[in-house]
């Protein structure tokens, strides 16, 4: 691996970790469930995307890079759907 790729990978994973950290802080600090949900879905999805990007740069084969992308897409899919479900459940409780 060339030095530039290595640097880029470390930078992406570092940025991803930062977004995860921000999301977690927001989860602990935000006042109610809807805002917490917002923080989790936005910040963590971005963080995961960056971590996956950083890992793809290090992937040894094209197949493992593809697997990483599939993992990212699956987490996006289930995260978005469950966030919708939790949001609906919250609305039902409030009404």
């Amino acid at each position: 691996m060339t030095g530039l790729l290595h640097l880029l990978s470390v930078a992406a994973i570092g940025a991803g970790t930062f977004f995860f950290f921000t999301g977690t802080v927001a989860l602990l600090r935000f006042p109610d469930s809807l805002t917490r949900l917002h923080a989790l879905t936005k910040a963590d999805n971005l963080g995961l995307g960056l971590v996956v990007f950083g890992l793809i740069l290090r992937a040894e084969t094209a197949l493992s890079a593809l697997k990483l992308i599939v993992i990212w897409a699956l987490v996006l899919l289930s995260g978005a759907s469950t966030a919708q479900l939790i949001g609906r459940a919250l609305r039902r409780v409030r009404e």
Binding site: V70, L74, L77, S78
Partner: protein, 317 residues
């Protein structure tokens, strides 16, 4: 290397804290949710012990499917009601239990610290068995499951069938033979349906991949079967599929297919390779994959049936 020990201690503390919350949480629902989180964290501990196969099983079965089972059970009990405060244990009993639990944990911990050195190991025997009968399998865990300790694995499949029979035998007389009650009575939300529709094809593919790759890499019949089972459960939750009638012939055939094929192969080994559950080394890998395919089918059918529970009245429209 320098930061890993701290991560290990942090992970251990986190696992213990989540487990404590599982025990201490007031509401049943909170307790179940923290149990699922606990299962996922435990999977990380297994990774640290160089046990990715166990980690996959723990995350899928120990955390995921058990969580679905308990949440479904809590819902069916109605509003997750708790037992009244009058049956709460007194302080004396709590103290006594705490001391007892601490004693047991302490005894276990001291045993762990005093484990013999050098540690006993079956790895050389397993390695020898893998080289002869489990030829062609790169994953030692699969080789142990399917070759060195294949008898255990077959009996475990039979335990699954027995458990399904046990669950079904809780059926009320008048409901016998009908389908288990659906996972939810009301119409599911659109996101649930969307998720199930998207996950069903991808999840099926990944389940089969995990089973197939298990011959040489972490994965295998248990993990793949559990994934397929999860896909069937989520399709039933979205009401895209309904639980089948428990007297359906295809269902019962699929349930016993795994242990039956395993047993037939074991008996054949007696004549072909000279001992019960032995495979001729030249065709060991195809035979093992053949048996495992039926095991995947049985696991994928048995786990959702265990979660769905006994058949209920009025579940057939």
């Amino acid at each position: 290397m320098s930061v890993l020990p701290y991560l290990d201690v942090g992970l251990a503390l986190l696992v213990v804290a989540v487990a404590a919350w599982t025990v201490a949480a007031r509401a049943l629902f909170a307790s179940v949710v923290s149990y699922v989180a606990y299962g996922l964290l435990l999977a990380f501990v297994w990774i640290r012990l160089y046990a990715p196969d166990v980690a996959l099983t723990e995350a899928a079965v120990g955390g995921g499917v058990t969580g679905v089972l308990l949440i479904t059970a809590g819902k069916r009990l109605g509003a997750l009601h708790d037992i009244g405060p009058d049956v709460r244990p007194g302080v004396g009993l709590k103290l006594l239990t705490g001391v007892l639990a601490a004693l047991v944990a302490g005894a276990l911990a001291s045993v762990i610290l005093l484990l013999p050195d050098p540690p006993p190991s079956l790895a050389p025997e397993a390695s020898a068995a893998i080289d002869s009968a489990g030829a062609g399998l790169g994953n030692p865990i699969t080789a142990v499951l399917m070759s060195y300790r294949s008898f255990d694995t077959m009996l475990e499949k039979i335990v699954l069938v027995l458990a399904v029979a046990g669950v079904w035998s809780m059926t009320a007389d008048e409901a016998w033979g009908r389908a288990p009650s659906p996972f939810r009575r009301s119409r599911p939300y659109a996101p649930t349906i969307f998720l199930a529709q998207m996950l069903a094809p991808i999840g099926t593919l990944i389940g089969i991949h995990v089973f197939w790759t298990g011959a040489n890499a972490p994965g295998g019949a248990f993990q793949g079967g559990a994934l397929l089972a999860a896909i069937w459960i989520i399709t039933m939750m979205a009401r895209l599929a309904e639980p089948p009638r428990v007297d359906a012939r295809w269902l019962r055939m699929a349930l016993v297919a795994g242990p039956a094929v395993f047993l037939v192969n074991g008996l054949t080994g007696e004549f072909v390779a000279g001992s019960f559950f032995a495979y001729p080394p030249s065709v060991a890998k195809p035979i093992i994959l053949f048996i495992e395919a039926f095991m995947v089918l049985s696991i994928a059918v048995a786990l959702p049936m265990l979660v769905a529970g006994p058949s209920s009245e009025g579940s057939d429209q």
